[in-house]
């Protein structure tokens, strides 16, 4: 298993497409969060209940797009180049190959996402401070504040979950375009649905789709997504992240079953 992981790490390090996607994930996380922060404003001194932690991490929605490419491409590029046959000849154990890929994808994307998440948070707080988010209504929230720390680390974990969901989809569909489209659909369709469905359906959507992971960012009792705000918390922060990881596990399980059953 160690050998397989090492080999997958060498592959990822020399896979330009995945590296570019990883860089895009970090840039979008920092850049779009900063944009969200600089677009927010409040009248200094007046009260308000904006979630300054969540605003500073709002770029996660866009970073998720790149995360899907980061997760899917290590597998789909093997099919488009037929390299999968070389891989499975070198390591006939399908479970071992997929597990090693998952470990490497998660092991590489989590630290990168964490770095980007921390940077986004610090830049966001500084921008929000300039936009009128000051004490007493908005006292500074340090990175070490438990809720803030949970949101920042949780955001990195959420992006990692999206990478893993996409890896499972890529294994099942074997085609880059189809996998990325399916991954984006899975992450964004629930958000779009929020605007269309009645309240009780919305709640179910937030609880049961990968969107639930967004709850990990909330420190104000409301969930913010790019396209809608959900009043109240249909699901708690950690359980929400748990749902996203359940999707990752489910997607990898489907991928594994198909990888095992199909001829390469």
């Amino acid at each position: 298993m160690t050998a397989t992981v090492r080999s997958e790490l060498t592959k990822l390090r020399s896979h330009r497409g995945a590296l570019i996607a990883a860089a895009a994930m970090c840039s979008l996380m920092v850049g779009m969060s900063a944009l969200a922060a600089s677009e927010s404003h409040t009248d200094a001194g007046l009260g308000g209940n904006d979630d300054v932690v969540q605003i500073a991490l709002a770029g996660v929605v866009f970073a998720a797009l790149a995360a899907i490419v980061v997760g899917a491409s290590p597998m789909t590029s093997e099919y488009s180049t037929r390299m999968i046959r070389t891989t499975l000849t070198a390591t006939p154990g399908r479970l071992r190959v997929l597990a090693a890929k998952a470990l490497v994808v998660a092991g590489v994307s989590f630290p990168l996402a964490l770095g980007a998440s921390v940077a986004a948070y610090l830049i966001g707080q500084s921008l929000l401070h300039q936009r009128g988010y000051v004490a007493p209504a908005y006292p500074p929230v340090s990175l070490t504040d438990p809720d803030a720390a949970r949101a920042v680390v949780g955001t990195a974990l959420l992006l990692t979950a999206y990478c893993l969901i996409a890896l499972g989809i890529g294994t099942a569909l074997r085609h880059s375009g189809a996998s990325i489209a399916a991954g984006i659909g899975l992450v964004f369709l629930p958000m779009l649905m929020l605007g269309v469905f009645p309240e009780h359906v919305r709640e179910r959507v937030v609880q049961a789709t990968p969107l639930a992971g967004m709850a990990v960012q909330s420190t104000s009792g409301r969930m913010l997504t790019a396209f809608a705000t959900v009043d109240g918390m249909p699901i708690g922060p950690w359980p929400g992240l748990g749902v996203a990881y359940a999707w990752a596990l489910g997607s990898l399980a489907v991928g594994y079953v198909l990888l095992r059953r199909r001829d390469a």
């Binding site: 896979h15 390591t91 006939p92």
Partner: protein
């Protein structure tokens, strides 16, 4: 000798098409075994089944008595070249070999060794996607040799090679077999195996048509034709006819005959006091022999 590769009643269907049909073969070490048949005969599928890339409907394919998937660090037992283009075009040749080496716990430095072995040292850092077909085949051979395996499985390794590359491949295969390795190599062109293979396994429509040595194939498909040059054609004709064969005269100074050993011919002529000016044995080419064999097989059915 112990078979290193064997299949037992191996059968693989894709929908209604039978790609491999009840195939039982065994491949011996120390020889180059040619796996021959027209395109679509099931050669590649058989190799995929052997390497666990595809699963058979019935029967089994074994390497040293075990299923390929059960071998720990399989590249140190079997080196395979199934598809010379099966690499990521953006990765350098060296990096490509390095990840393969790492996956089987083979030292990374081995990548440089095999690159030297196949003559790609100078382009080791170049993106493999820029390689010519011949260079890709060499890279594929390099990958197959990484684990210094006793068994090599190569699918059409000579396809797309120029004459120089072809010669290199032939010498390489012969050298590997001479080291005692099992070399199992497919080709749809019999002529490409002419000076390479010792043993031939002939496949047609997924079925085993023949499994025999190159010498046997040529002997079985056609007797040697013997041309005898002699000043006394009529006497030679009589002697040979009495020996039970059918000599044919060209009307001048030559008699041709089949179905008799060259030594017997010279003995017969000598004992009758007939001068022998020349004796030429013409062997049919491997391809000719193969065509006769497949034609005969078709007639039988």
């Amino acid at each position: 000798m112990v078979a290193t590769i064997e299949t037992h009643s191996l059968t693989k269907r894709y929908g209604p098409t039978v790609a491999v049909d009840d195939l039982s073969i065994d491949v011996q070490p120390g020889k180059v075994t040619g796996f021959v048949g027209p395109n679509g005969a099931g050669k590649t599928t058989t190799m995929q089944l052997l390497l666990g890339l595809a699963a058979p409907q019935s029967g089994e394919a074994l390497v040293r008595g075990r299923r390929y998937a059960e071998i720990e660090r399989p590249l140190t037992v079997v080196g395979a070249l199934l598809d010379a283009g099966a690499f990521h075009p953006g990765r350098s040749a060296r990096r490509h070999l390095e990840w393969i080496a790492e996956s089987n716990g083979i030292a990374r430095g081995r990548a440089n060794e095999v690159l030297r072995l196949v003559g790609l040292s100078d382009v080791a850092g170049r993106r493999a996607g820029t390689f010519s077909l011949g260079m890709r085949q060499r890279l594929g051979i390099a990958a197959a040799l990484l684990g210094d395996p006793p068994i090599l499985v190569l699918d059409e390794p000579t396809i797309g090679l120029d004459p120089e590359g072809m010669r290199w491949m032939r010498q390489t295969l012969r050298a590997l077999a001479a080291e005692g390795r099992t070399v199992f190599v497919s080709s749809h062109l019999m002529s490409e195996l002419e000076d390479t293979a010792d043993q031939l396994i002939v496949l047609e429509k997924g079925r085993l048509l023949a499994d025999l040595s190159v010498d046997q194939l040529i002997a079985a498909a056609s007797d040697d034709e013997i041309a005898i040059g002699t000043p006394d054609v009529p006497a030679a004709m009589t002697v040979l006819a009495n020996a039970g064969v059918t000599p044919i005269s060209n009307g001048r100074d030559q008699v041709t005959v089949r179905g008799i050993a060259p030594l017997r011919v010279s003995e017969l002529l000598a004992s009758s006091g007939i001068a022998l000016e020349q004796l030429v044995v013409t062997r049919p080419s491997l391809e000719e022999a193969y065509f006769r064999l497949t034609r005969d097989a078709k007639v039988e059915r």
